[in-house]
Symmetry: C2
Subunit: 214 residues, 2 copies
């Protein structure tokens, strides 16, 4: 049984909020880029709206850092390149593959931040749990995927592989964050193995919703 | 003296609204991309907010197309690649040069749409004039440029050249739109030479605000 972690000190709280703000900002920019290359206007606008929601989340997290007496700019800047490697290793020119990146890839980063939020003060925890919603609504991703896979039966298997690749790349990011910021690990109240297990289970749940084999 | 153009037929009105919506959407995606690579968090967030304003403008234009009985998706899709050439020819890795692209480059496209709006019904014209504001507020661009040029006196001359390049590329886009959509030219109520003159004068005014030599 996991033991409830103690309430984090302010500097670790600000560190987690800064990480989450950067993750949300990166999602904003990547969803906006996908919006540009979406196959039609409806998808273009849907992705753009998802992007704006991520920016709203980012701004609310920065506001919370300021409320806690932190330097919002510095807290976010500390993680400004945290997803650069993930993004460069998960670039894709296929619309179906792109659709999975926010929902499956960034979903892991959001889960991590939500889990670490268990160790924060009530208000910060509630904020993280509220704003770190799925970057792309499951029904949007699902409707698009159904449309794509209806015309290509081999695609389902290929996308399942891509989904596994995305979770692998995302877990690599989590590992590197934990190694560079040891304070974060204390927030989680679980050992690293248990953390990866929980993140993988959440990923499998999302794959299932998309009717892909995890 | 320019003669007031007649009120445009609905299909030309929808065409102009679709062009403007696409221009705004492209600005949204490019400002979001710049937000990702901005040198600090403050600039990152400022550019992100500018991006969202462009998306809001895009959405309001699409709503107007629907009100007029048009197909918003199709109207915007007709111009989905209108700025691809401009964007690829004005890619830059310098922060100072990037700052000028929205204000000076897209500013020309916005001016064109506002001028053509003279030929539309009152409500469509008022909407275009309201939402097509400067993509990046002049004071934001100016503050950043002052900061950059304070440390580099040769840069002012280089940026003046870049500004002239941007207006040239933007006028190329205007020319290609006029050639592919002859209905647009009728909206303007001026000859093409007069149009280019007006667009260039507006550009010079913006260059002046940035203290650059047009």
């Amino acid at each position: 049984m996991a033991i409830a972690p103690p309430i984090a000190d302010p500097s670790t709280t600000i560190e987690l909020l800064g990480l989450a703000a950067q993750v949300e900002h990166t999602q904003f920019t990547r969803l906006a880029a996908y919006s540009r290359v979406a196959p039609g206007t409806a998808q273009r606008m849907a992705l753009a709206r998802c992007a704006v929601q991520r920016l709203d989340a980012c701004e609310r997290l920065l506001t919370r850092i300021t409320e806690l007496g932190g330097d919002a700019d510095a807290a976010m800047a500390a993680f400004s390149h945290v997803l650069d490697g993930f993004d460069s290793r998960t670039a894709s020119t296929s619309w179906a593959e792109r659709l999975l990146v926010p929902y499956l890839g960034y979903g892991v980063a959001d889960d991590f931040c939500r889990m670490a939020a268990d160790g924060l003060d009530d208000e910060s925890r509630a904020l993280l749990q509220e704003v770190l919603t799925d970057p792309m609504p499951a029904d949007l991703a699902l409707a698009e995927l159904d449309d794509v896979t209806a015309h290509d039966h081999v695609l389902g298997a290929r996308l399942a592989l891509w989904g596994r690749r995305l979770v692998g790349e995302a877990l690599t990011v989590v590992q590197s964050v934990l190694e560079s910021k040891p304070g974060m690990e204390h927030l989680l109240g679980v050992q690293r193995g248990a953390l990866y297990g929980k993140l993988t289970a959440e990923h499998a749940r999302r794959m299932g919703r998309l009717r892909l084999t995890a």
